[in-house]
């Protein structure tokens, strides 16, 4: 792997996204004239540390899933770099890799999908499904692959005898665990879970979340956990990033961010979370979010959040704030981060 160029990165960091941009052209007519640009991801930078769970939250259309797909290089970046620390210790910029080098990297980063139905090929047995990554990378004889698949199924709490079954024999939660087994097949160090439990019942979702946490402990995995469910994020994440219209609005450790949000958008999201104790609602200040998330083709000038922000002033309408570090090492993209006193939620 001498072709990999060395980049510098903090020793504790597994993935570093730096100035990532992904623009999709909107074309029209016969000759594909470009009429507009969708900025799905716009100038995003954050680090994911080894062994942690980084939560990414935001409304639908905020670009959360695009980030996961960019890190796994399902799409190519428009601009920016994504550094990844290999198990060997080498640091590579995955955005510049050729197909063959990228294939090597794919052993170390995998994805768990949102929809447990469409993410498993219905025409393959569990053996073929979970074993496919092993076959692709030529890892082992058919007998060895079968053993490994049985082992993986055991790891995610499915009976190893199920290897000859097809996905239609399983419930949504079980299918999601098959997806987890497939993601684990190549022994990756990083897994992106894109809304991995959003399609499941609450109780089944909780089981799978706990399974993912157990596996993280056992196998030393690092997760990028994408969801719109703040309760889930609070439960599983070490650090959280809040996204709005393709931009990161705030990044910080989970407890601090939940207890004391620094961005008005975070405050509004937290206020919208249902409380287990309904009487708690009365004592809490409710910040209702005005309007809808803006059209990605037509992002507001200045701070993209200003049309919906209760604290917006002329500066917000004119100047786009940058993601900057404020007290306690937290990052916020707001002009008034220091002066605002925002309400979070306190853990019981």
């Amino acid at each position: 792997m001498s072709t990999f160029q060395q980049k510098s990165m903090d020793a504790e960091t597994l993935i570093s996204v730096r100035g990532a941009k992904k623009y999709f052209p909107v074309t029209e007519g016969w000759f594909n004239r470009q009429v507009a640009t969708i900025k799905a991801v716009d100038d995003i930078s954050f680090d994911i540390r080894k062994g942690e769970t980084f939560g990414l939250v935001g409304e639908s259309g905020s670009g959360k899933s695009s980030i996961a797909r960019l890190i796994l290089r399902a799409y190519d970046l428009t601009e920016g770099e994504i550094l990844f620390r290999r198990t060997s210790g080498d640091v590579v910029d995955i955005t510049t890799l050729g197909d063959r080098d990228m294939r090597e990297i794919r052993r170390e980063m995998q994805m768990i999908f949102q929809d447990p139905y469409s993410s498993l090929n219905p025409r393959m047995t569990l053996l073929e499904l979970v074993g496919e990554p092993l076959v692709i990378h030529g890892m082992g004889t058919p007998a060895e692959i079968k053993d490994r698949v049985s082992e993986l199924l055991g790891l995610v709490g499915l009976r190893p005898e199920y290897v000859m079954r097809y996905p239609h024999a399983f419930s949504g939660g079980q299918r999601q665990r098959i997806g987890i087994a497939r993601a684990l097949a190549l022994n990756p160090s990083f897994i992106a879970a894109d809304e991995a439990v959003s399609a499941l019942d609450v109780s089944v979702a909780a089981q799978n979340i706990n399974l993912m946490q157990d596996l993280q402990e056992k196998l030393g995995l690092t997760y990028l956990f994408i969801t719109h469910d703040l309760g889930m994020v609070e439960h599983i994440s070490d650090r959280v990033g809040v996204m709005y219209l393709g931009r990161l609005m705030e990044v910080g450790p989970t407890d601090e961010l939940f207890a004391k949000p620094k961005h008005p958008y975070t405050e509004a999201l937290l206020a919208a979370v249902p409380q287990p104790d309904p009487r708690g609602n009365r004592t809490r200040k409710r910040v209702a979010l005005k309007g809808e998330i803006a059209d990605a083709m037509n992002i507001p000038t200045g701070c993209p959040f200003h049309p919906r922000c209760a604290y917006a002033d002329d500066k917000c309408r004119a100047e786009t704030p940058a993601l900057r570090v404020v007290e306690g090492g937290r990052q916020v993209r707001c002009h008034h981060a220091e002066s605002l006193d925002l309400v979070g939620v306190t853990a019981q």
């Binding site: 399902a74 794919r106 692709i136 000859m164 079954r165 024999a169 089981q207 939620v345 019981q348």
Partner: protein, 387 residues
Amino acid sequence: MTDIQTFDRLSALPATPPLAPKEAARDENVYTAKPWTLIWWRFRKHKLAVVSLGFMITLTLLAIFADFMSPYLPGTFNKLNTFAPPSVVRVIHDGQLQRPFIYPMKRTRDMETARVIYQEDRTKVLPVRFFVEGETYNLLGLVETKTHFFGVDDRRQQINLLGTDSLGRDLFSRLLYGARVTLSAGLVGVAFSFVLGLALGAVSGYYGGWLDSGIQRLMEFIRSIPTIPLWMGLAAALPIAWDPLFVYVLITVILSLIGWTHLARVVRGRFFSLKTEDYVLAARLSGASEYRIVTKHMLPAMTSYIIASLTLAVPEMILGETALSFLGLGLRPPVVSWGVLLQDAQNLRSISLAPWLLAPGVAVVLVVLAFNFIGDGLRDAADPYGQ
């Protein structure tokens, strides 16, 4: 905010409750059933389609072994047996049950109109015999033999299950020989359009963009051409001196040049929808090559749809061949096809005199219906994982 924690107690993964042994075995069958097994189970529920499938298999076998199954050769004429009505196979003679037999026909002439009249001679019994010696032919082009599946043991009498035509040729024999040409024209035509449709549809759906727009416009152009004038033009371009079999291949090519557009649409649509399936992305993220993704993930998900639409395309080809030949633009005698046979039924006089000449038309209707039923059944069963 901490409501999630309360579920920790449920974290022990649920064990599947044990089933009764018999029930468990049956369920396990369903769980490990191959996709094609599931498709067959679904198809089986479609009674009409199953009956049609049986009918088509029988007809195909009859066509393949036409020379053995038919009592006479398609070209054998008999000037003393013109426009003979169908022979009725009976089992009761003189109030007594017998082995199957026919009554011989007596040919007389109406003295006033000079028309030939056939009458059954009820005094004599002509038993239907199996494996009788008849005219010599080459079975499947390999073995020279004289044995026919059935016939009558009488040099002067014939068994004509569907009557005879103006030259006294046995219509049943000609129908079986014609089935060979007509059915294979349908299949060969569909095979041609399958190749065209699959290739162009796949390119269109997989790459998209301007290539897709170009192919789509081409398809719309082809579909907008009025077919009969086009056929007439093309048929006029074929020299009359060419070998009839070569003309037959050309006719099917012409039909498929028009017919491929339907299939291309289906393939394109499937590629479009499959491209965005999560399991295709999952394979890509595992490092699968384009070739593996197309052959292992996309094509298997399409085959059943493709087969269903191919089945639905066969009747179109058969109708096309029949129409062309009926109009005299397609196959010409001495080639025997259902369209050619129907040419004999073109004038009113022969239909009123010998309505059995329309039998090939009935055969066309039955085959077209059967293919449509099979196609419908397959289409419903094609996605065993949908609702």
